[in-house]
């Protein structure tokens, strides 16, 4: 994408939460992810306590709050990356109302196919652009050539990368810029056609133009996917999220102190801590 095409799309700041809201309104609220009494410990160190949160399906929920209040840990409970961290213990449950939770509890791989994740730093595999996407597909048993090609192309189209890389699919993924790498990582998650996307500060390592592309994508993807977005940028939360969850560290333990629609939370925060946090921005 060039600057001209960027300018052709109306700048996101011009439509504050309206865009997110209209998308949320235009679709049936056909389910939700429910965090029920989630607590997370690392060894003896309790970092998240008793979080109950309902995330509407096919919308963006932003998780905001200062560093260290357990936002990343919350995301890890959704795709059970916490299982990989030695000493990490999670109690409570995360349920997807429209998916087979029983089966996914037994099989983390099945769960992670449904729940894609984007990290703070772009982390493509040290492969070619093409192989980055092909690898995950093949590992999940999708090998039919036509199918593979189709999925890869449509994932790259979906993140707006196809036109930029279609002539150099065999180039190393590291030859891309940081923003392109992040979109490649998003495409890598999308080839598996997940229903949920977790994003842990996906733009914090990116320049403003790349950030805007990602925000555009988040809005577009949220029509068909449930997105949980951790962000330190209140502006970003305002622009893309329809629901906002505010976390805070109280007595050394992360808690959910306020949650509501983006409109309500930004305009009429109820909790004092939220008020002062929003006042900083």
């Amino acid at each position: 994408m060039t600057h001209s095409t960027l300018l052709a799309t109306p700048p996101l700041v011009a439509r504050p939460y309206a865009a997110a809201q209209s998308i949320a309104d235009s679709r049936p609220s056909s389910g939700h992810i429910e965090f029920d009494d989630i607590s997370v410990r690392y060894g003896n160190n309790k970092v998240v306590e008793s979080v109950c949160l309902k995330v509407p399906r096919n919308s963006v929920t932003a998780m905001i709050g200062p560093s260290g209040c357990g936002k990343s840990s919350m995301l890890y409970t959704v795709n059970r990356l916490c299982d990989l961290i030695p000493g990490c213990c999670v109690t409570g449950s995360v349920e997807f109302s429209w998916l087979d939770n029983e089966q996914m509890r037994k099989d983390a791989i099945l769960l992670r196919r449904q729940v894609g994740m984007l990290f703070q730093r772009p982390n493509p595999f040290p492969f070619s652009i093409w192989k980055n996407l092909e690898f995950a597909l093949k590992q999940h048993g999708i090998r039919a050539k036509a199918d593979v090609n189709e999925r890869i192309e449509s994932a790259l189209q979906e993140v707006g990368l196809w036109d930029e890389v279609k002539d150099r699919l065999s180039a190393s993924a590291f030859s891309l810029s940081g923003g392109q790498q992040q979109r490649l990582c998003l495409a890598r998650a999308l080839v598996l056609q997940p229903a949920v996307l977790l994003m842990d500060e996906p733009c914090s390592a990116l320049d403003p133009i790349s950030t805007q592309k990602i925000e555009d994508l988040i809005l577009r993807l949220s029509r068909t996917r449930t997105i949980l977005l951790v962000t330190h940028s209140l502006g970003q939360a305002r622009r893309v999220a329809s629901q906002v969850a505010m976390f805070w560290k109280l007595d050394g333990v992360g808690r959910l102190i306020e949650c509501g629609s983006a409109l309500d939370l930004f305009d009429q925060p109820r909790h004092d801590l939220t008020k002062s946090y929003l006042a900083y921005a």
Binding site: N123, E134, R188
Partner: protein
């Protein structure tokens, strides 16, 4: 040369710069000197026959063919035994055990202790276990296996470091994509770690090639052509040692053998390096349409 030196305005900086130059030249000289002597003295002995004939007259004349063969056999046996073990240890430490758990801690600790054990001690151990108790006698197999024990700590350490560095971020991103741990290990971590693995391999190989003490009393010093790995065989380091200390008039061929050893090291290192590069490219690159 318009380097830093000419553009440094302060005498103190210029002094420091000169100091660095002298230091670097000294280091290079110290490295090149022995090399130069071996090349100068050894090149007289080198000829085609030197590589294709058996030694005669206790090594004063003839070539070193059986010695080259024995050496390669010993090193091959040791690497074949040590590499899979070291790889298993590295995978254990990086992928399976909790890094701060007691298993990992005790494994690391024993590797460190083993790495500090003098090679003669390994030699005695090999003599008693492989040669005597397992009945291998003085043989290439016994020598190779003893060497394997000796290089195992080095190799395991190098592989662990390589896998650790390579796997860190990809372990998590792979898991987040629902990829199995072995898939990420084989398809991502190992290819990324290959350069580090290769460096460890070359280090272990050179240690094995240079070893004399261990082999004196495990693989023996028969200079005949070995027929199998159960035969005794003389490694090139022992040959050099023998020619230069026990054989009057053997100095010429000792230098020749030393030069051959250097050449062998170079050839092996370069081929490991190229093989690694090829594999690296093959494993990470292009399986495009």
């Amino acid at each position: 040369m318009n380097t830093l030196g000419s553009s440094l305005p302060y005498p103190r900086d210029r002094l420091w710069n000169g100091f660095l130059w002298v230091g670097s030249l000294l280091v290079v000289a110290v490295l090149l000197w022995p090399l130069l002597i071996v090349v100068l003295e050894g090149s007289h002995a080198l000829s085609l026959e030197f590589f294709t004939q058996s030694p005669s007259d206790a090594g004063r004349s003839g070539g070193i063919l059986p010695i080259l063969v024995s050496t390669l056999a010993i090193v091959s046996v040791s690497l074949a035994a040590a590499l899979p073990l070291a790889f298993a240890i590295a995978v254990m430490l990086t992928e399976v055990c909790r890094p701060d758990g007691w298993i990992a801690t005790s494994m690391r600790c024993s590797l460190d202790v083993l790495a500090g054990v003098p090679s003669v001690v390994f030699g005695l151990f090999g003599l008693s276990l492989f040669c005597r108790q397992l009945g291998m006698g003085y043989s290439i197999a016994a020598g190779g296996l003893t060497l394997a024990c000796m290089i195992l700590p080095t190799l395991a350490r190098a592989l662990t470091t390589a896998l650790e560095a390579a796997g860190e971020q990809h372990r998590v991103s792979g898991a987040a994509l629902g990829l199995s741990q072995p898939a990420v290990l084989w398809s991502v971590t190992v290819p990324v770690a290959l350069p580090g693995i290769c460096a460890g391999l070359i280090l272990a190989m050179t240690r094995a090639l240079a070893e004399t003490a261990v082999l004196l009393f495990t693989s023996g010093y028969s200079d005949r052509m070995p027929e199998s790995i159960m035969d005794s065989g003389r490694s090139i380091s022992i040959h050099i040692y023998d020619l230069s200390t026990n054989v009057p008039g053997g100095m010429q061929n000792a230098y020749g053998s030393a030069l051959a050893l250097l050449l062998m090291l170079t050839v092996l290192s370069v081929s490991v390096h190229w093989a690694t590069r090829w594999m690296h490219k093959h494993m990470t690159g292009a399986s495009q349409r």
